[in-house]
């Protein structure tokens, strides 16, 4: 891995990752693909390509940089004002397809790493406590995000079959926590009150943003074939998380959950996506044996450690 293309280079994880790769003298070039300019100091080994994933001349735009590795970090999880559900699907599925087609046209490409999500397993009451990588199609895909993630993973698998000399790694991240991140879980954690499901206290597992970036760096250096779960080793009860964060839980009756949140969203509170809502009800744990044994990556922070770090950052900011 010498010449890397990073998609979504302007989002927080992409930017930190680019900086991390540039800090390594072995890296010849980092190409940041995004419609916004990444917040990075000028660097002679960094190139910003201002393009949308859906742009048809992607292959032509990236060809001059002779990339040998691709890190796809631009799957969007939730719609927002100005970013409709339609756009989301376009970016996640059509965008990934275009990107992989463009990447496959690069003769020197050897490594593809995709930031996917553990949401692909779903949050189910009867689920095994720890999902292994082969359980992705165990339960029906219930949300748009799950379907998008599953579809883009299929596209990656197709590329892996067609181009056996390219090692394709799909990293399935549990929710990523970090003070500066804008993820659904962070929006939830930063709100003053947290709506919970009355009578439920799920086991949750997360990963800290710094560890998430490190996992992507490791995957670029030592790619493995197929999907790898990325998460801290431990799972904790939601009640412990809330206690640690000092948040007030508002238990809602299961039947009224959607209605109350819909009303709150109309009053200007952040909207909660379906995946996070289900995660708060049933939780999810993943098995990290493959991450440790094959990818050779060990997160520095446990789930509870990541939560404590966020709690401290929040206390400092307050």
């Amino acid at each position: 891995m010498r010449r890397v293309l990073i998609t979504g280079a302007a989002n927080r994880l992409g930017t930190v990752l680019a900086a991390e790769l540039l800090a390594d003298p072995q890296t010849e070039l980092v190409v940041g693909l995004d419609t916004r300019k990444p917040d990075l100091p000028p660097h002679d080994r960094f190139v910003h390509v201002d393009a949308d994933l859906r742009s048809p001349d992607l292959a032509r735009l990236i060809a001059p940089h002779r990339i040998d590795a691709l890190l796809h970090n631009d799957l969007l999880q939730f719609p927002e004002p100005g970013r409709s559900a339609r756009t989301l699907h376009d970016t996640n599925v059509v965008g990934t397809l275009q990107l992989l087609v463009a990447a496959a046209a690069q003769p020197e490409l050897r490594t593809v790493v995709v930031r996917s999500t553990a949401s692909i397993y779903g949050s189910e009451p009867q689920a095994p406590a720890f999902f292994t990588e082969d359980m992705a199609d165990r339960y029906p895909l219930r949300t748009r995000w799950q379907r998008d993630a599953a579809e883009s993973e299929k596209l990656v698998a197709a590329l892996a079959r067609r181009r056996p000399e390219v090692t394709c790694t799909t990293l399935r991240f549990q929710p990523i926590l970090g003070r500066t991140l804008d993820t659904p879980i962070m929006r939830l954690v930063s709100s003053p009150v947290i709506p919970t499901w009355m009578g439920f206290d799920p086991m949750v597992q997360v990963i800290h943003g710094d560890d998430a970036v490190e996992a992507m760096v490791v995957a670029l250096r030592r790619p493995v074939r197929g999907a790898v779960n990325v998460a801290a080793a431990d799972t904790v009860s939601l009640s412990r998380v809330l206690r640690r964060l000092g948040k007030t839980a508002i238990p809602l009756l299961p039947g009224a959950y959607g209605t109350v949140l819909g009303l709150a969203a109309r009053l200007g509170m952040p909207r909660m996506d379906d995946d996070t809502a289900r995660f708060l009800r049933y939780g999810r744990g993943v098995d990290t044996t493959r991450m440790r044994a094959e990818l050779g990556f060990e997160p520095t922070l446990s789930s509870i450690g990541a939560i404590e770090l966020v709690a401290m950052a929040q206390a400092e900011a307050a």
Binding site: Q126, A129, T132, G199, V236, S239, R240
Partner: protein, 272 residues
């Protein structure tokens, strides 16, 4: 009979000592007086053969299942705790998946060491060295009508044999007598079961007739016996693939439990 004073039931929120399965030893300890009351006063349980359980390392405890609401796992745990004292190792147990979609109950079960009935969970727990209790009859056993009491239902495909072999854990058969009478099921309301997604909706002489009072179990007399452990490690490792052999071993375990149910039934001398 004077009732001993009971401490308040512990809150369901997790303490700092919970493990990655959601089991909280502090919750299990705090719930103990309640279980002890049911064990000693209500059902007057006699437990034998606890010393046959391996002192350390994994063990797969296989028991019969009956009584509409499965109290048996908690009473088996209480029996082991009373006999082992300070050396007590809390067993984990597999619970019908459906229970984990219920509010409160799902949390309480998990805090007490229950996990959704999935072979992945059982195997991982055994590999961690835990004692795991399974009830191969599953919902067929708990939900059987009162007229079929003391007779074990069939044992599925014998998945527990595969588990024990893969984990290198001995199987400890266990017979429970008395759970059969706690809620004598004399009928069913399948429509309500279908609406709620429950495996069955029972009719007993007191439920749903007396409403919540119908949920009070009858004070039958119980006996629990742990049988000699059955080691499987002398079998060739490819036995796991041999469906017929696995099925035969499962049937052997079932027969042993059935025999112990009958012998304990004789020793119990009367259900109440």
């Amino acid at each position: 009979m004077r009732l001993p004073p009971l401490p308040p039931f512990p809150p369901l929120t997790a303490g700092p000592r919970e493990d990655r399965w959601g089991y909280d030893p502090d919750f299990a300890t705090a719930a103990q007086p309640w279980l002890d009351f049911m064990y000693k006063r209500w059902w007057r349980v006699t437990t034998t053969g606890v010393d046959r359980l391996p002192r350390d390392g994994p063990a797969l405890i296989v028991a019969n299942h009956a009584g509409v609401v499965p109290w048996d796992a908690s009473m088996m745990a209480a029996g082991i705790r009373r006999h082992e004292g300070p050396d007590y190792r809390h067993p984990r147990f597999l619970v019908l998946d459906w229970a984990f979609s219920l509010p409160w109950a799902s949390v309480g079960i998990r805090r007490f060491g229950g996990v959704p009935a999935s072979p992945h969970n059982a195997l991982a727990l055994l590999k961690e060295g835990h004692r795991v209790m399974v009830f191969p009859e599953g919902a067929k056993g708990v939900g059987k009508p009162f007229s079929r009491r003391y007779r074990l239902e069939r044992f599925g495909r014998g998945g527990f044999i595969e588990l024990a072999m893969k984990a290198g854990a001995p199987i400890v058969p266990c017979a429970v007598v008395g759970s059969e009478e706690i809620y004598p099921k004399i009928g069913e309301l399948p429509l309500i079961a279908r609406i709620t997604g429950a495996p069955y909706f029972p009719i007993t002489p007191t439920f749903p007739l007396l409403g919540p009072f119908g949920a009070i179990p009858l004070p039958s007399r119980w006996r629990i016996e742990f049988d000699e452990p059955m080691a499987l490690d002398h079998l060739p490792s490819d036995t796991v693939e041999d469906r017929a052999k696995v099925f035969e071993l499962a049937e052997e375990v079932r027969q042993r439990i059935q025999a112990k149910v009958f012998s304990n039934l004789v020793e119990r001398e009367g259900a109440f």
